[in-house]
Amino acid sequence: MTDQPLDNHAALSLTGLARMTFILATASLGVAVLCGLVGQVGLTWNTFSARFLRLTAAATVGAALASGGMALQGLLRNPLAEPYILGISSGAGVGVLLGLAIAAKAALPNWAMTPVMALAGAAATCGVVYGIAQRRGRLDPYVLLLSGVIVNAFNGAIMLSIFLLVPPRTIARFAVWAMGGVSEALAITNIPLLSGCAVAAVACWALLVFRGAALNTLGLGDEVAGSVGVPVHRLRVEVFALVSVMTAAAVMLAGPIGFLGLIVPHICRLILGPDHRKLAIVSGFGGAIFLMLADTLCRLAGGWLRIGEVPVGILTALCGGPFFIYLLRKRLGGVKS
């Protein structure tokens, strides 16, 4: 048999990954420019630059949620894991709303409270969900999903309680935020928040890429992964911390957007296979492109339907719900047969 081509097939090279990154980055930029151009006739520089900022926000949120979802699926060996489903997004959401409420009461600027509270909410939820689902370091995939459901319900209740405490005008604003959507106003007016979130998300994404090889070995089980040199416990803490930061950044920019971290990594897995080094790179760009396109579609749809704008979180949930059921059925069928 001929071994040489097989060796080449198995070997992932730095130049290959760099080329992949370059092509996808160029494609993402192209999509951003195209999405910025569509719409309205008589486009001015101002509207284009405003849209471009908004698309930057969408790309940040998409990259963070998709690569974060990919990392959680690898870490937990569960194709259904995702920041929204595990309740990490709603945890960050509680943090954001609490931060806004406290800032309003104490007459503090928002930026002083929301990032800290969002991160704390996301990290606390990670800890709680993982704490419920693991027993002596072993994870039951269904208990994990159920603990996500429970934590989501709990966080939802806290959000509704916050609604009771704020004036009616703010409730409307919070409710729109809770649908999940990229806000043009936020992107234009709060450049420090946008750039801070973008830098944090991209930095965490890059760090996730460097955890890809370790995530691959986790498929062999914790004990074997440990024996080939992966510090399994530290890896869990690192990935949960990175995903918490990324989810907090995404939720601060766009509210809780669901299922993106499920759909995009799954499509990437179908095309690229199981290697988390490639998946981490591609799912980030895939998420950015996906959310830019979805957000543009929602912006246009709002115009056609004459209802202002459709929050993109509604679109992703409408697509993602059936997709989740499909994955769940496939997985259940696979386990039984």
Binding site: L6, A10, G74, T217, V224
Partner: protein
């Protein structure tokens, strides 16, 4: 390579999962380079717990484990993986990697932060696959090959680590007779030809007696007997270890006796 013959040495190990529940008591053992050591004992005798302590997964409550002249606890996961490899009882792969990619994962501790394989990594894993006769299905997935083949892939992955010590946890417990023999012969080759210290936890007294250079018999968390098969294999030791009546059937050619329980 280590200067000392005795690569892995444990002394006075004690372990308990819960206070008062002693799983290991005062266990001492030595694994030497070039020798296959089989750890025998009934279920619940502490074999697997001992293995997990030797792997560094469990921290013993008392006693010391020295690997290559240094305390086991002093190694990072990465530096430990270059000296010590592990083959689990049941090979699993949650992700759809090919056999070749799985074997390459054994190079994790030898590669950079991205785990990218160099020419040398590819050569080492190919050699490991040649040794374990797994090249023929290099591009298939673990779910597409038989249990015996999958176990050989796990051994190839362990070999790719280029370890001095290889620990195997009942690697033949779910295999047919032919595959059991294949795996035992492979372990003998690793010890004798590749000069590794091979430690295998096993239920099968006959296979272990036939192939091992050294035996360690455990019962209720203690070492009941250790030494060469000739020294260890006597009726008294086996009967008290396994709690059954045992006959030793001596073959006419004077080789290792066959153990018959009844």
């Amino acid at each position: 390579m280590s200067n000392s013959e005795h690569v892995l040495r444990a002394e006075g190990l004690a372990f308990e999962y819960r206070p008062g529940q002693h799983v290991l008591r005062d266990v001492s053992m030595t694994a030497a380079a070039g020798k296959l050591l089989c750890v025998l004992g009934p279920n619940g005798s502490g074999k697997t717990t001992l293995l997990r302590c030797l792997l560094g997964r469990l921290a013993a409550r008392a006693g010391t484990i020295m690997l290559d002249g240094k305390a086991l606890a002093g190694y990072s996961a990465r530096s430990l993986a270059r000296l010590l490899a592990y083959v689990p009882q049941f090979p699993t792969s949650a992700f759809a990697f090919s056999v070749r990619e799985l074997v390459l994962m054994g190079r994790f501790a030898h590669t950079g932060p991205m785990g990218l394989a160099s020419e040398q990594d590819l050569a080492v894993s190919r050699q490991a696959m040649m040794m374990t006769d797994t090249l023929d299905f290099a591009n298939r997935m673990l779910s597409e090959i038989s249990g015996g083949e999958a176990q050989r892939v796990m051994i190839a992955r362990a070999l790719a680590q280029q370890p001095q010590v290889c620990l195997l946890d009942e690697p033949t417990s779910h295999l047919d007779i032919k595959n059991q023999l294949t795996i035992y012969r492979m372990m003998v080759r690793l010890a004798h030809d590749w000069k590794m210290a091979v430690i295998c936890v096993s239920h099968d007294v006959n296979l272990a007696a036939r192939f091992a250079d050294e035996l360690l018999v455990m019962r209720l968390g203690r070492v009941l007997a250790d030494g060469t098969p000739q020294q260890v294999l006597n009726q008294g030791v086996l009967q008290s270890a396994f709690d059954v009546d045992i006959d030793l059937v001596h073959p006419p050619d004077g080789g290792i006796p066959i153990i018959r329980a009844h």
